[in-house]
Symmetry: C2
Subunit: 76 residues, 2 copies
């Protein structure tokens, strides 16, 4: 899937195409889209707690979340 | 890393070698060991909420968690 604009905010921790090189930040490349969507929604809606992720996820719309999840799951 | 005995409990959802085929269950193969350790400890210690995962993580020792995380992160 093509690269959503919001990906710029993710690259710092999750790396290019979700190939994170920092062990605390999970690899996103090739992860299931449904799982990524749930994680982002849980961070956005306060069901999953991580200060950084909750801050980044806060303003995301469902469509932006879907696009980010599709993008990362499609990365090899 | 070699396959810990406890892996048998994970295979049902996360698949052989952590190659989950069910989209709600995350792929574990190739994920960072530090991230997997944190996730398992958070589930075990109640910092991250998922009924199934909390049940499975409940009895795990730190060593078992380390072995599981090492095993899955080493899967291609």
């Amino acid at each position: 899937a093509e690269e959503p604009a919001k990906v710029k905010t993710c690259v710092g921790c999750h790396g290019q195409g979700g190939h994170s090189v920092v062990p605390n930040f999970p690899v996103l490349a090739g992860q299931h889209a449904a799982y990524l969507e749930k994680a982002l929604k849980d961070f956005r809606d306060g069901f999953r707690h991580n200060a950084t992720m909750q801050m980044f996820a806060k303003g995301l719309t469902d469509d932006e979340i879907k696009a980010l999840a599709a993008y990362y799951s499609s990365q090899k």
